[in-house]
């Protein structure tokens, strides 16, 4: 059975702020199903009681002191911006 339906692919695309043509959605649905079926093989494994690993090493407590350092000059902060004006990044108006 397919792991993921076309409608779900469309929903996930929306979440990820991506758009695809219908043809792309079709082939993506197939590819994702291959991939999801493959990674679904983890279901075979019993992992009850196993702690998840989210970091490769068991490090804790890395802090910096509350000291103010240098910020970027505003021109550098904005130097890569696709659209800028008056010291700010510019985007289409948010209603």
């Amino acid at each position: 059975m397919a792991k993921i339906q076309k409608s779900e692919v469309e929903h996930v695309a929306k979440l990820a702020r991506l758009t695809f043509s219908q043809a792309e959605i079709d082939s993506l649905t197939d590819q994702l199903n291959d991939i999801l079926t493959y990674i679904g093989k983890l279901e075979e494994l019993d992992s009850t009681g196993v702690e998840p690993t989210t970091h490769a090493l068991k490090l804790t407590n890395c802090f910096r002191g509350d000291e103010v350092g240098e910020s970027l000059p505003v021109d550098e902060a904005l130097s890569n911006a696709p659209q800028r004006e008056g010291g700010a990044f510019v985007v289409p108006r948010i209603i």
Partner: protein, 475 residues
């Protein structure tokens, strides 16, 4: 049918650290756009966050002050959504393992104490700001605020009345100010509140469908918005309608909440542990160290003021409302050992002056040492109490020391007996009719004669002394 409101609050408190939570940019408010930014808070490729230790300690203080259990291990998580004020496309927050859980705050409404449970307190970063162009279809993104540290305090749905919500918030503001971890200013946004509210038939368990209220930026607005929402939901339910689960915005101008429906899509935040930040492990020793650094909290301070200074509970309450008032009071008492007198002068005179100017006591131009000196002048009869109030006003206005004011303006009381005696004699001479009236039994005229002596000294005569001498001379 009667309904009961079930209210839970989510409160965001901006922490007063010098630098941001994950980078060293300044948190100072009011700088030109994007001047307090760096590759880290702009979310440039490849940069990494490093946690500001002070944020953890401030959050721990709030957790301790609200009777929470501090987790031995907590972890940051990423909360994903796309918005131009969120440069990484996710907010670093805490999710599965928050810093603290299971606390409470007691609030008092109409003389009754209610305990409001606190579900959790977690740390997170603030977003930036958007400014909308009035004429063109553009918005401007300012990332100065991005990365300012926040704690989010989530209450249990234990609040039943809008007044309780307002008191709860005031209590949080009082605590964060006591702890010195935030300005706690709702109007300026350093204290923000969202509310979840649902109704249920009175006496029933379980929860109704809730709405989430946003955009309330004062205590009054929170109360008004909740009151409105209770009316709205009650009317709906009584009409046989149903409450829809949704986010509603408070419109302060119209005094109503309105639905955000359609403007907001269903969220799927896709939280997962942030791999760039390691877990925060907090051992008992650290908690104790932080506890040591905490000031005495309002409740304990109030009790102590009653016990140690013999103050009425009302006075203790007012004086401990802010840690700065309490500190001011105690410093004054240290220099002038009559607590109730100090309390009266602070509560009645000083706070009135501050209130008129919309000022806080920590910026008061009259330091505690000056008020104490003033009270000494009153006590030893150098000036009258009435004059004392004038001197206080003068000192407040000019910042001058009370002694100096009294001296320069020649305000000290006239208590010299010989001088006063001769004045009394002159008054008796100048007003024979009134003296005769008095002696014939019209005792009311005595006040007039005292007034004449006072007038001659332009109010500087010691009224007690004048009374004594006049009495003697007339009888």
């Amino acid at each position: 049918m009667d309904y009961e409101a079930v209210i839970g609050l989510e409160v965001h408190v901006q922490l007063k650290t010098r630098s941001k939570i994950f980078c060293s940019c300044s948190t100072r408010f009011g700088a030109p756009p994007n001047t307090h930014t760096c590759p880290i808070c702009i979310g440039m490729p490849g940069v990494l966050p490093v946690l500001n230790k002070k944020v953890v300690e401030y959050a721990m203080k709030m957790a301790l002050a609200t009777n929470c259990e501090i987790a031995s291990v907590s972890q940051f998580a990423r909360k994903h959504y796309f918005y131009p004020d969120l440069p990484k496309g996710y907010q670093i927050s805490q999710y599965e393992l928050p810093l603290a859980e299971n606390g409470w705050i007691d609030v008092e409404v109409d003389g009754q104490t209610r305990r409001i449970g606190i579900t959790r307190i977690h740390m997170e970063e603030d977003a930036g700001k958007l400014i909308h162009d009035e004429h063109r279809p553009l918005s401007f993104v300012d990332l100065n605020r991005t990365g300012t540290p926040l704690i989010e305090i989530v209450s249990e749905p234990d609040i039943r009345r809008p007044e309780e919500a307002s008191e709860y918030l005031k209590k949080i503001r009082q605590l964060v100010r006591y702890l010195g971890i935030s300005d706690g200013n709702m109007e300026e946004g350093s204290l923000r509140c969202d509310a979840n509210i649902s109704l249920r038939p009175l006496g029933r368990q379980g929860y109704g469908v809730k709405s989430e209220l946003k955009n309330m930026n004062s205590f009054r607005h929170v109360q008004k918005a909740l009151e409105y929402e209770i009316r709205r939901q009650t009317a709906l339910l009584l009409d046989g309608g149903q409450v829809v689960q949704e986010t509603r915005l408070w419109d302060a101008a119209k005094g109503v909440t309105h639905s955000m429906r359609g403007k907001e899509e269903a969220h799927d935040y896709r939280y997962f542990p942030d791999p760039d930040l390691v877990p925060v492990e907090i051992e008992r020793v650290w908690i104790e160290k932080v506890r040591q650094e905490m000031p005495e909290l309002p409740g304990a301070k109030r009790e102590r003021f009653v016990k140690e200074y013999g103050l009425p509970p009302y006075d203790a309450d007012v004086l401990t409302s802010s840690i700065h008032v309490a500190d001011y009071f105690e410093e004054c008492v240290r220099l002038f050992h009559r607590p109730k007198t100090v309390s009266n002068w602070i509560m009645v005179e000083l706070l009135k002056l501050l209130h008129q100017d919309n000022q806080e006591i920590d910026t008061c131009p009259v330091p505690p040492s000056s008020l104490a000196a003033l009270l000494k002048l009153v006590e030893d009869g150098t000036i009258s109490a009435k004059m004392g109030k004038k001197v206080l006003e003068e000192s407040y206005k000019t910042g001058m020391e009370p002694q100096q004011i009294v001296q320069e303006q020649g305000l000290s009381q006239l208590s010299d007996e010989a001088e006063l005696k001769s004045m009394v004699a002159r008054v008796i001479e100048d007003f024979p009719e009134e003296v005769a009236k008095y002696r014939s039994g019209k005792k009311k005229v005595f006040g007039f004669l005292v007034g004449q002596v006072m007038r001659m000294t332009r109010g500087k005569a010691n009224p007690k002394k004048v009374n004594e001498l006049l009495q003697k001379a007339l009888d």
